[in-house]
Symmetry: D2
Subunit: 338 residues, 4 copies
Amino acid sequence: MIIVLNRNDQNTIDELQEHFGNNHDIFVHHNRVAVQGITRDDLSDSEKSAAVEIIEDVPAAVQGSRVFHPEDTIIRTKHSMIGGDNFTMMAGPCSVESEEHITRMAAVAKANGATVLRGGAFKPRTSPYSFQGLGEEGLRFLRRAADQYNMDVVTEVMDDEHVEMVGKYTDIFQIGARNMQNFSLLKAVGRTNIPVMLKRGMSATVDDVLNASEYIAAGGNHNIMIAERGIRTFDNKYTRNTMDAGVVPVLQKLTHYPVIIDPSHAAGHTEFVTPLGLAGVAAGASGLVVEIHDDPAHALSDGPQALLPEQFKELSDKAFAIRDLLTEMPAEQAEAGR
Amino acid sequence: MIIVLNRNDQNTIDELQEHFGNNHDIFVHHNRVAVQGITRDDLSDSEKSAAVEIIEDVPAAVQGSRVFHPEDTIIRTKHSMIGGDNFTMMAGPCSVESEEHITRMAAVAKANGATVLRGGAFKPRTSPYSFQGLGEEGLRFLRRAADQYNMDVVTEVMDDEHVEMVGKYTDIFQIGARNMQNFSLLKAVGRTNIPVMLKRGMSATVDDVLNASEYIAAGGNHNIMIAERGIRTFDNKYTRNTMDAGVVPVLQKLTHYPVIIDPSHAAGHTEFVTPLGLAGVAAGASGLVVEIHDDPAHALSDGPQALLPEQFKELSDKAFAIRDLLTEMPAEQAEAGR
Amino acid sequence: MIIVLNRNDQNTIDELQEHFGNNHDIFVHHNRVAVQGITRDDLSDSEKSAAVEIIEDVPAAVQGSRVFHPEDTIIRTKHSMIGGDNFTMMAGPCSVESEEHITRMAAVAKANGATVLRGGAFKPRTSPYSFQGLGEEGLRFLRRAADQYNMDVVTEVMDDEHVEMVGKYTDIFQIGARNMQNFSLLKAVGRTNIPVMLKRGMSATVDDVLNASEYIAAGGNHNIMIAERGIRTFDNKYTRNTMDAGVVPVLQKLTHYPVIIDPSHAAGHTEFVTPLGLAGVAAGASGLVVEIHDDPAHALSDGPQALLPEQFKELSDKAFAIRDLLTEMPAEQAEAGR
Amino acid sequence: MIIVLNRNDQNTIDELQEHFGNNHDIFVHHNRVAVQGITRDDLSDSEKSAAVEIIEDVPAAVQGSRVFHPEDTIIRTKHSMIGGDNFTMMAGPCSVESEEHITRMAAVAKANGATVLRGGAFKPRTSPYSFQGLGEEGLRFLRRAADQYNMDVVTEVMDDEHVEMVGKYTDIFQIGARNMQNFSLLKAVGRTNIPVMLKRGMSATVDDVLNASEYIAAGGNHNIMIAERGIRTFDNKYTRNTMDAGVVPVLQKLTHYPVIIDPSHAAGHTEFVTPLGLAGVAAGASGLVVEIHDDPAHALSDGPQALLPEQFKELSDKAFAIRDLLTEMPAEQAEAGR
């Protein structure tokens, strides 16, 4: 249940904390107080009369909901603002392969508008016999490459035991699609204050991904963005997954977290990455995360879906142009989507 | 198998016709001859030596394939050019409700860039007890409204017995998603020369829709466009279907037919129609088909997904602006997608 | 709305017919009267007081629902009883290939417990260039083969124009999965009194198939059975479709029509047909429809999923044994499923 | 690649180990040697000539494949034999709720043929605010209840850090569907010698689950069983998931690990659990894992899908009867499925 109070009614907030804080999860955002597991009848007369509005039908993922937190969350890292009216480009190779390579890729990413460098050092591979990443050494390469070009780092953490170590190197944790419901891991990143990019699982419903994000929020970390990377459907002959463009306005309506599109994993083939990336931008996404490589045929992982530098330039130019166009035109649509 | 000849080698074409025409399906497009069910060994020496290239690995839907017909198909109706570099807006109410209403909607559609008026007179409703459409009277209203505003008509034909009658009123037949594999109906419209908009079935793979289109082409009608209207996936809580934006570049690679996006049926809710429509345009679609209504609460069908006139104006303005932007920027992506 | 009356209250039935019959769809089953599109307030005082119970929350497919028709429908053909406690085996080749072949297959089917002979004369093939069936000649062969072995015939009708002609030869119409929402065809078989086996579409929900069946019932034909033949999911590498065993008890709860399992199309490969068929029987299906062939490598269609005669014998023996076992054991489960 | 040798050719095995062991993953099963990442040309002449057969086309999950390990794996715990011709019943409540309750449920399970007691102490709940399980105390209750009735324990481990602790109490680790690709966890249980029941993820393909099992095998633990608990499809209105009965014979063909069916999570509603469980048995499963509860309305989790004791008795009686029937009848089908 959410109790909406007048602005600055700290007295009632204190009263509610005292009344319910010991036995219930209770969250406060400005003048809104969410108390889990109570009904209107549990409120005292003074609490009831202080309420401007009492909202009983709230989603399970209450902290992530617009009902509790109407304004857009804007995530501030050293080099980026993510969410709201901002548009953020993230790019880099699937895996960190060597210091020289990641540095070269950082230069390409930065030159084409990216402010966040992606790269995997711990890789969740389908087969145990595939390349599993360079580990901590890869993280060092990634960090140095990003620093050289004044970029932020986003990289995957696969394991709650690794959260502290990976956290030394990264500005944004990525939770991969396969780990979207690894609740131990979600709780672990929720105990940090490092922003998290949570990827929607291959068969996760909108409600599933919001509930997963709530595991992070429940630990106190509200710097969350949600990334769509394609879902599993009955047809994957030509694209690896089906990118669900509709999830962008749907999530923007339901949650205040920024929504990012990963067209690379959705497409699975270079030739389809740009159309899907642009579709995501046109649907209103707050950013893209794109795999790039200057020699895809020899990439250690996911080469077939990497964009060449010149292909990435084209995607990035068009993405920013579409975003500018949509931002400048009367934004009824953007509002309608919220 | 496809035999590629030198331009203007009519002699070999005649020879192939004579050799295989009685026992095999044989199709000619410029200098390309497709013969079904033969192998290289069936060719005579002179046929082999006349071939510039022999392509043995061809899709079942050979007439629709880029291998057989590399250039874009451009469909010409009285008021529209569909395909190639053109962008076509189609709009109108789900059902034709009355002559006044369809005329009013035609005015709205035309004023906002549409050249094709849509409207259903025969409605494929899930329940037999729902409104089934005005029938032929509805077609008359639709035709008059379109004529008044110099527009083309697109309307659904549900039944092979109705093809002739509906053909008197429409410029484009729509084959609905539920009828995508109604082969009798496909053959019937294939025997006409009226353009066909074939909607992808809810669970049709890319190959399925191409094979369905081949039933039309096999009858001699090559004025085909394919419309994506969302597919069935595991999550339809917030959108009615999942719009598969990736199918746009995939189809553009595989086939020469124009690809149209129907964001209304994909979204199922007004607030998500515009983001999905724009995503389709950014993915490269040749046009949109959109449901509009000036009083959705009282629409006889599908009101919840209809755009109001002012919402349609916003979608249309942004759609044309994105299309212009993409067409004017260096089109490496468009080529890459083919 | 359904008004439940006392047994034999013909007066109130007559009153309701007179009151609502001109403007509403109205259906009577024993002491239950379903009137579409009215509410409790529309009833007169005498109608209200005559009602034992008024059920306002009824499914759209009201005639097919257990709420309207609590007892099992049992379909009686010349040689078979389908539904209730009966178990019916249907078998035959995918296509009728020749008179000799279908006669040989009829012998195999009959010798192993089948009372219904299946075989296609009009084939809904994905590609227009594939074998489309022998047409009416095939129906003649099929009819003669069935008659020789005292069997019923089930065969697909693809087209409303063919209903009359096919009806001369068959005891049961099959509506194929691709035509499940071909409403013209459903209406056409609904106007006959020949039983119909309606196959669930590849992506049809339970509600979709029930609504499709209602198109048949709305025409006056209530001899309907529903066949599950596998649905489309994200994995079809090893089986052609995913057989939804759960649909058997779900449909048995919701509808009074018999539920049949088609393990052949679900499996797509001979080696998986028997386990799936037995799973269907154990889930409670009223019958199986199975493809058999004595030379699958040369079958004109669907050879890879056909059972050899000795494989069919094994399936049939085990199927009847499981059915007997379940019927003889205390049937709490069967009841629970309804 | 797999090199098949004569029985007892230890010399060639030693030669292969020496030749490839330092640089390649190499696995030996009786007379079969799998070496990852080599081709026929990498073999020496003596290795080639010692080979009875060289199999180059092997699946990524080589240790789990029938190609490498043709015989059924049979898992031996203190009270159970799982796999081969054995049939194993596992039952218990979703969550361990109290010592009295789990003990009462153990009595019910044992009295009806179960030799393995299930119960969750760490619960992977969709929402962070739901009951998360009793933790280690729950494991103690579970262990004592099982010991009192001479049963084995199966319980979920959610976290690699918990593997050691949970391992003190359980005979079989359960890896839940949401963690099927939590590779850190898979590796951790792979380092133990405690049997593992790996649940197929909601959208995991057959290949995905086999590759996940290989993470366990790669650590040296080959006591693996795979459990089907329903997959996500487009229709979950009446059942929670779609049970894929076909996966039983498919997995039995591809892998030597026992296949278990969990009808409770597939059904999601008590009334559909028994039909689905029996379908799994008829499809050939080596066992069932079933949720039971004597007061479902007050269960701390998943009450709506729990069987009452008398319902479980009926399922168990029928399941063993069907299994006996199938085992006693000529087993061509079972062989065909392998």
